[in-house]
Symmetry: C2
Subunit: 385 residues, 2 copies
Amino acid sequence: MLRPYLDTIMNLEQIPTPAAVLDVSRMLRNIDRMQQRMDALGVKFRPHVKTSKSWPVVQAQLDAGAQGITVSTLKEAEQFFAAGVVDILYAVSMAASKLPQALALRRKGCALKLLTENTESAHAIARFGREHDEVFEVLIEIDTDGHRSGVKPDSELLLQVAAALEAGGARVAGVMTHAGASYDLDTPEALRAMAEQERRECVRAARRLRAAGYDCPCVSVGSTPTALSAQSLEEVTEVRAGVYAFFDLVMSNTGVCALSDIALSVLTTVIGHQAEKGWTIVDAGWMAMSRDRGTQGKKIDYGYGQVCALDGTPVHDYIMISANQEHGIVSHRGQAGHDAATRFPVGTLLRILPNHACATAAQFPEYHALSAGGDLMAWPRFYGW
Amino acid sequence: MLRPYLDTIMNLEQIPTPAAVLDVSRMLRNIDRMQQRMDALGVKFRPHVKTSKSWPVVQAQLDAGAQGITVSTLKEAEQFFAAGVVDILYAVSMAASKLPQALALRRKGCALKLLTENTESAHAIARFGREHDEVFEVLIEIDTDGHRSGVKPDSELLLQVAAALEAGGARVAGVMTHAGASYDLDTPEALRAMAEQERRECVRAARRLRAAGYDCPCVSVGSTPTALSAQSLEEVTEVRAGVYAFFDLVMSNTGVCALSDIALSVLTTVIGHQAEKGWTIVDAGWMAMSRDRGTQGKKIDYGYGQVCALDGTPVHDYIMISANQEHGIVSHRGQAGHDAATRFPVGTLLRILPNHACATAAQFPEYHALSAGGDLMAWPRFYGW
């Protein structure tokens, strides 16, 4: 994954800013931590690759013991299948218009699993499969926390969706849930309770399906906070999580990681000051950080990101308070310090920890991956649909 | 700019979702409106291409009469210089580390103008120019509204920056300001006053520089709201604006455009419902819309966007109330309607107007440009730095 220009770029000082810097040691530590936890709890782990969209990262997850991947777009499925991953779960309720793309992947040998949560989509999948002599494996999305989509585990709809699938010739491959509401919690007790709710409600759905005669082999749960908080995963067969590989300030607010675990940062150059306001202007704005304000209204509001020195050490209480497209305004979070120009002179390089790694990473065509030994590698990432 | 697959994609129903749809008629109307206004006010117009980052859009702006372009990154300068644009203003305070890239552009014949607002950067530009026998043309950024960077027109710093440039061998090519605070205004009176403040303060800076012996030929002002509100542009030589070509909900809130002027929308497919909550789930989340919540706390809060039917007609009071990475939740903005599943059945195509066109467009590798005649073209756009 080395790119030619890295023959000339040898250290962070030489990277054009803004840039996405990935601390590989932290990333590998985060990946190992999650995999060891899943191994100890006796479940398969299927990382969500929507966070990185980058093969070296996914390779590290698979090397650590992950079995298969989760994707949020069929483009991710296509890219990672081309890279050699066969077992792929597309974890967004299937739109009928995307079935030809899914069929093409399966025809090439991809063990692509689909998701649904309504009878219209279930019928469409089954019908399209019949027409093309393909038995689609479909998981049913379960709503265990009310935050988004899915059917309730005790609903009639659950059995109706299963019936629509199997009567039509598709296969109920399992149930899947994502307790995204966990992102808003910030105590170990609340996170453990949410993890248990996610497990219990998803298992309840699987039991109902089995009682009704469906195999339902897979019980898939997960979000980074619940995966790192679950005390038991009894009757769960696999766990999914994505942002754990990089972590971010939202995750730090939940308590499942420290600032020193955050592997992704945005490298930026100081380009000016408004001295009397205590502002330092940097060349990373929202185009680099993304517009994600996920820490707004949470335990600690980091604005658009936590300021760190070039070596990655957080500069206490300095955050990006505001962002325009290619300008960030860095300031002390409390009373304005009036030493901005002496503290961060023009030309200073800073690293900004992001609120939400998935959103910030998406703004960049590549990561500048910094190894423990200090080597820099360019890891490409893709975008779009 | 036609892409091969458009041989098979003939209408909006066939585009894979989510997708960025650009209504070319609206765009051309917006471009003409601005150019005619600038012509009437007797100033040059230099569009900011950070909104589109796409050659067919810039071509239309130049065809309408624009003279030169404004860029927010040197990558934009490189891309559009390669496409044939020579007169380019890089409107972000120059970082010394980017000077080799700027020099390379000038050496190839690009009339690239730089920007600075502090003596450190001014010295660095002049020194680098001397070392490489290049006279950089540099505009001084003026702060006329306190919203971001720039020197005050009546400050000592203004003359110090000019002195640092010319004593070092660079040329003070002019003054430049951007009244970004105009985005927060929403009455014609307030916008006219802001436009006059932007003009007056920038002209004041130019006069001071000329009185001190500098040529200062260029007086460059602009933002979409002030450009569309200014009553006089006396002593201004050029105006810049970017988002006017597409418009968006933030601009609609300022009052400078109507919903029916917004040229960019995100095409999305309904993939499910939470019927009892009145929610419709679509396959455009924040990865498609961006995380921009620019209408939050403004005259009308559109959530993550205004819902429209496939033909572009707004569906009154239906907005995207919440967004996950690849899921959007569409709902009535007031009391939840319970007719979501019948109103927007699974498979329905909707178009969502964005809060901020610059941010939403940036999420997509291409526009699906829909001509007045109903033809679809794929217009590529670039990203990154």
